[in-house]
């Protein structure tokens, strides 16, 4: 069973990374979602697998390891916040730069580099 789960995590990581390397922001977002699934499963699995042994005192021992679960629980919610942030960033980039390409810098739109002002100062 461990082997299967490990493979599934591996596939999630591979798929997620491949998508993160794409040029369109939407693909990158999809990739990040897959990666956060992978990370959460990985963390969760690090506590070992146990069937029908939730960490509820009422259910009686033996229990599964509750610590990775607590970690993953917050990770899921924070992962959502991160995804939301990237999504909104993509929207903002679309509005400001008129493109959904991740490498769009808008250099043609705004040529003023803040570095120049600073260089002037040291002369």
């Amino acid at each position: 069973m461990e082997l299967l789960l490990a493979i599934a995590i591996g596939v999630l990581v591979a798929g997620g990374l491949y998508l993160v390397l794409r040029a369109q922001t939407f693909s990158v977002v999809l990739g990040l979602v897959l990666l956060s699934y992978a990370t959460n499963l990985f963390l969760f699995a690090s506590g070992g697998l146990a069937r029908n042994r939730p960490a509820l005192i009422a259910a009686g021992p033996p229990y599964t390891d509750p610590l990775p679960q607590a970690l993953v629980l917050t990770a899921i919610v924070i992962g959502f916040a991160m995804t939301a942030f990237v999504v909104v960033l993509a929207l903002r980039a679309r509005a400001e730069l008129g493109s959904e390409h991740v490498d769009e810098t808008g250099a043609t739109l705004d040529d003023e580099s803040p570095d120049d002002a600073d260089k002037e100062e040291d002369r």
Binding site: N52, P54, L56, A59
Partner: protein, 90 residues
Amino acid sequence: MILSLSIYAALAMLAVAILLNLWRLAIGPDDTDRVLALDTLFINTIALLVVLGIHFDTTVYFESALVLALIGFIGTAAFCKYQLRGDLIE
């Protein structure tokens, strides 16, 4: 004896149902078909959870089933709204 047998039978049937949902999800042909397939998949999963709960003799899964029912419906509604109007919240 009869209970456990019927549970196994139910699990097997649910597994087949889920696989059929997946088949529909894969071939489409339309995105609306896929949304429907996903919705049905959710419902079958709820059934699966309940049967599993009986199998393991625990009520721990029932909350998940409850939330799953809620989520499944809203998810489908969201997809439908998107197909209809594009803009979800207006």
